[in-house]
Symmetry: C3
Subunit: 398 residues, 3 copies
């Protein structure tokens, strides 16, 4: 075990990620390349130690607060697993059961739940311009509370999906690719097709496609974003993707053809999302309480979607990818044709063939979240990881 751990630690020691200590994790593109890589390494080390039955907890007590403003299974259990792995107990802020007064400020609620909170994980992805802003309000509130001596510790905010990015998902996706292709250095020149796909539902968040183009353009990959006309993502994120690609020696291109995107791709990520402009409109209508307007918009969106039922990840399309064997990614759950719906994002036979790698992809999320927390809480991670190994407490007693 020692040699492998030492190799990880040697890699960590070459990186500068000091700013992650006592900090939050909002958007991947707010982090440096070193910080992103450090997160991957720490996630790998935590997994490696756990697989070898080494307890990696760093807290004897403390709470991990979760706030889900949208349904969640995967991310909920990933956050719970990560907190538990590190020694924190999850306490869910269920806004339904809470006495959050009408007009109560975010600042107040944030402090009231955080007296013993080391981490706050939030999913708030439904309204453009809202989720990420809310997370910053919470973070600012607890930072101020900490500064004023109200909170003894500064709770770290982890973005569990906002309107802009889904960093724990996309980092897990990327770590999956790194393992699949045998190292971060092997990503250079790989073609990934992040494409829209048809789904009978509407209004799915944009955070996954945005997160993917915002992150995966940093590793020298050829990132192609494909969608029908009218399904544009946020322009700022496209700008980030372009800059990333330039800096990393890769490329970022756009197309309105799924076929073009799939052609010779090493990786495909076909997934439905709502058009950015429509989501913005919807946010406005909600703000005005215009129920009639919302219903009308939803009908329009579904009709619009239905014009693009041919955007499906079929066997035929898959056969056009690199050696017909591109790695298929999805954040799950997928809309599978003839399984979960009549016509969906992906053909059943394609999905079935990739079931194991898909589950493997998902399995990185708890470790990515744990690594984000670890790097925010531990001043000298390399030393501490070594100490944890030397401590040698078994996770499971034999």
């Amino acid at each position: 075990m020692d040699t492998k751990l030492q190799a990880y630690i040697d890699r960590l020691n070459k990186l500068n990620f000091k700013e992650m200590y006592n900090n939050d994790f909002f958007l991947t593109w707010e982090k440096t390349d070193d910080e992103i890589e450090a997160t991957f390494i720490v996630a790998d080390v935590l997994r490696y130690l756990r697989e070898n039955n080494i307890d990696v907890s760093i807290f004897e007590s403390g709470l991990g607060i979760s706030l889900f403003r949208d349904n969640s299974t995967r991310t909920r259990f990933s956050f719970a697993s990560a907190c538990n792995l590190l020694g924190l107990e999850v306490q869910d802020l269920d806004e339904g059961k809470s006495q959050i007064a009408h007009g109560e400020t975010v600042r107040e609620t944030a402090n009231m739940i955080s007296f013993m909170a080391d981490v706050i994980g939030i999913r708030d992805d439904m309204y453009i311009g809202k989720g990420n802003t809310y997370m910053h309000q919470v973070s600012n509130a607890v930072q101020e509370g900490h500064k004023e001596g109200i909170l003894e510790q500064r709770p770290t905010l982890v973005n569990l999906q906002c309107d802009i990015d889904h960093p724990t998902q996309c980092m897990a996706d990327m770590l999956h690719l790194i393992h699949y292709f045998g190292g971060i250095e092997n990503m250079k020149g790989k073609k990934i097709a992040m494409t829209w796909a048809y789904s009978p539902s509407y209004g799915k968040p944009l955070s996954v496609p945005q997160g993917v183009i915002g992150l995966m353009t940093r590793f020298g990959m050829d990132v192609v974003l494909a969608h029908p006309e009218g399904y544009e993502v946020m322009p700022e994120v496209e700008k980030t993707a372009k800059e990333n690609a330039k800096n990393s020696g890769g490329s970022f291109t756009k197309t309105n053809s799924m076929k073009e995107a799939f052609n010779n791709a090493d990786i495909v990520y076909p997934k439905s999302w709502a058009p950015f402009a429509a989501m913005e409109k919807r946010t406005d209508l909600y703000g005005k309480g215009d129920t009639e307007g919302i219903k009308k918009l939803e009908k329009e969106l579904l009709a619009h979607n239905a014009m693009h039922k041919d955007w499906e990840c079929t066997e035929e399309l898959m056969s056009t990818t690199k050696n017909g064997k591109a790695l298929y990614l999805h954040c799950l759950p997928a809309d599978i044709t003839d399984v979960s719906c009549d016509e969906g994002e992906v053909a059943a036979s394609v999905f079935d063939r990739y079931r194991d790698p898909l589950y493997k992809q998902a399995s990185f999320k708890p470790y990515i979240i744990a690594a984000m927390i670890f790097l925010a809480k531990i001043k000298d991670p390399a030393t501490t990881l070594k100490a944890i190994k030397d401590r040698g407490t078994k996770r499971r007693y034999l």
Copy 2:
């Protein structure tokens, strides 16, 4: 303490229960006599150590997932207690708050929640032919996930009540009897009356009477199943009970007379349940979405129940038992005449007299569940129990 613990360990060492390691617990009759006895012994040891303020935790981290498809207080808290006792944190899969897509496979959900799950406890008792099947699907899914390297550990499935058996309840009931009568060897020849009783509600699961006749026929007891005509339980389980009785040197008989069943009984277990055939019909109607049909069936069932209001555990009936002092069992909550309803399963004075033993009966359930988990997770339980005692960590700091 040492002598008593050693005696338990000596008994364990005479039994063969190797197959329980890395395994699940579905139905008691799928376990050998040695395995059943080992579960009782480990439950007793865990209780004994806890009573002596010895911490018995075997996990530093890890999740115990619970999924209750039916309301629960007793079993929910028993499962939470067992997990906590062993060092696992309970995470409830609330299907309402989850993003379980329409058509999402059990296989997918099972893996997605299990990345750090050591145990999955499921209650799914409402539909004949469904609950146990579902549990096997979950178990198969996570076994495959483990084999494919998606899950680092193999989560153990514990049946917290299905359509066929309620093993944690019936094992707790049996352990209560063993303590009450001073040892497993004293059960031979004891007469137990598992009888139907009237309740103003309908559609109660059959898993308790089935679990009782499936388990208690294994100890040389005279097990009598009594119910009005039309309240038959599953034929397969009756078959199992007959075979068990034959093998154990006891007997399994049936009667349509509560009086006959109570006569000279050492133990009585009067409890309402729905007829097997009606539950099957109901499952079909649900499958077809036939709301009218269900309403009609419910009405019929209630009317049918009402014809048997004389099936009540009265003082008069109790006086006909062995020395008028049979031990009264119930899985709780009971329908008590003049307390929780006008006419119910048991007279208030009978229930009241047995309150303490009833609560004691229930108190074994957390330890039974903990023992099931312990035996599935620990390769050499006798050695580990000894090591836990020698470790000597206090549960409660003094």
Copy 3:
């Protein structure tokens, strides 16, 4: 650290609080002065140790059961924090998800959830004559269960707000005052105005004003209770306040003028509550299921409230307090004029100015709850606190 800890321990050693061991916490006035002071000291020590990264857990396993019959954020998270701090896992008894049978006795439910419970925290504040009574029923039930050998430990009951008192709130308020004014000995002669204030909602519990006059009259303070005519609190509690004041060398007076109460006050606590008599009437109407009567009463109460919109904590009123700088208290959330409502308990500028001290006030609650549990569970707290410090386990690994 040693000198400071030693000073706390020296203070503890002068007090007699033996009766708190294996006991409950219902009403502050059921506790002796020594017991109240011991709670403050232990709360301070636990906070001091945690601030110095010392793990203060006293349980390796065990459950803290919470039952909230009214919405809660602050108290819910405070209870969860306190349990977690001491090593207990919170398990919420959600009466909606439970199989609590119609007519099931409190005695039964209490025992069924308590097999591994060390603490039970209950909020039940809505009905006069009910909440405190219910808590005693639960406590009696588990005490009996413990005596009968059903429960291996005696769960401690902590009152998280009843119809009479809100001890965890008022003790936290008081500890905040002690810190603010530099010691319990400095409270003598301080004037505190516990006054009613207007709120557009109705039916707020009386437990805070009652708790405040029942507790704060014990430290030689001049406690003034102010409210419009008709907003009387429970007569028994006023009687207690009078006796306390007499014993402590302070005073307890009443007025129907907010202005008079604020005049030259060192501390002000303006907060809405419902009239005691109306709450009693409401309890009766609920008992009878008289929905029409309840609606009528609510309408009357809101109309009655509206006659007293001038009971607002304004800048003008604040300027009449001691040097214009009285400490403003609130249990939160407050009804803030122009923020959470059009006309409320307090002007926005006043509330804003006191935001930090208000949050600080709230921050004592988790430690007060932890101290209550600690004193009920640990036989010789002074020795154990010293041992915990010597044990030196870090709360957060570095």
